[in-house]
Symmetry: C2
Amino acid sequence: MPKRDLKNNVVSLQHSTQLADFKVGVDNVIFSVDIEQHRLLILLILRQEPPFSDRWSLPGTLVRHGESLEDAAHRSLSEKVQVQNLYLEQLYSFGGPGRDPREAPDSFGDRYLSVSYFSLVSHSEAQFIAKGARKGAKRIAWHEVDKLPDLAFDHREIINYGHRRLKNKLEYSPIAFEVLPQQFTLNDLYQFYETVLGQSFSDYSNFRTRLLKLGFLLDTGHKVSRGAGRPASLYRFDAIAFEPLKNKPLVFV
Amino acid sequence: MPKRDLKNNVVSLQHSTQLADFKVGVDNVIFSVDIEQHRLLILLILRQEPPFSDRWSLPGTLVRHGESLEDAAHRSLSEKVQVQNLYLEQLYSFGGPGRDPREAPDSFGDRYLSVSYFSLVSHSEAQFIAKGARKGAKRIAWHEVDKLPDLAFDHREIINYGHRRLKNKLEYSPIAFEVLPQQFTLNDLYQFYETVLGQSFSDYSNFRTRLLKLGFLLDTGHKVSRGAGRPASLYRFDAIAFEPLKNKPLVFV
DNA sequence: GCAAAAGTGTTCCGACTACACCCATGC
DNA sequence: GCATGGGTGTAGTCGGAACACTTTTGC
């Protein structure tokens, strides 16, 4: 993995003592789950300038003076897709030489490092984003993660990394409830897990029993009927009842 | 969390459209476990130049022209502590404004971003490092993680992050065996887990049974006697037998 | 009535817990 | 012998897997 070849030529030795200059970018990996259509979606934006003009890419920006990484991530989202106040979590940093075509080929001049951030939004917010993006609407779209077009930079790699993280988070953290409607059926919840984790991660009826036994899902008493079949109870997440389980691993799945 | 105050004054508005220039550093969080003395250790180096002269810090360096992040991490380790070929894993990136005193107070000029890397080395290698560091030996030392001195930069925060990662990794990955001697007693293994995870993470005899039932620990037949008491069997890790368990979570603990 | 979806119950089995107990050694 | 640490066994309990079965709706 390390390429510390001591047999380097003169050129690279002379490179090697000089510090590289960087611009730092942030890229956002924003997921959303469409339980009805069983699709895991990711927010992409069609680039309009080089490099990679007319390619789909993650929404991001370059970090400005006095701006923290996370602030830059938030700014790019509010500027480009009119979204505020997302909960963002840092993913990974990609910073090898040559990852951005803007870098000078002699490897002097600026390098580009990308710090990626991760988030999950509700499907209703996702639909709002897709529409609300005013004139630039066509440039912004949700894509299915397993049907991605060719992407700019190393964004494909970043997405893969993000997908892994999403799967992991689902298993020990209650993010599903931050993203489902306030009231939801147990089948909604099941579909949610299934579309992210892949199907048949668990038997449905066992999933029910286990989740209910944990005691943080409250039956609201309301019912909802969806086509044929018995109407389903609507549940809501009880954050207080969940509190004691907060730091226990593998609560779900 | 985001500080997107629109009520900013002119100065910061005028900052805000200009890209920040960065130097990028790498910092290594290298752990080692001393099972005999029940200590979780971390490798620190005494800084000799400002900023934070004479403070302990993580071994790191600034990234050079044409050098990947990981290469820089490896270089800093081979230059400063004479260690090669560590398996490094990226941890986190810290890059907010003001994290390095070298930054100009007006927030023009270079910012400093740190990408941290994580590793675990055997205790024998740790001892070798502590001695082998030639003339600079006094500058390099292993410190107990719960008895750290004041550190340079935000290195304390980085270490906390690394410690959490180490605990997590222990639970689902067999790194313990990469770092214990080839042959070890089950008690060695138990001590190892206990010093990292905190004591009484499990009953010893149940730990034994569970680990042995998994079937990737082979009894070598050799025995070792340590003071009084019945001699212990030496086991070794069987990577092939472990293969099928590779992707299953929560194998240990 | 019948299909469809929601929800309950049951059986089996393996895993984890908490011990008690036996074994081999040093002194 | 006895203290010390290594190692085995067991009884109770809990939880998951698989699947049959019941309930409530639309049509």
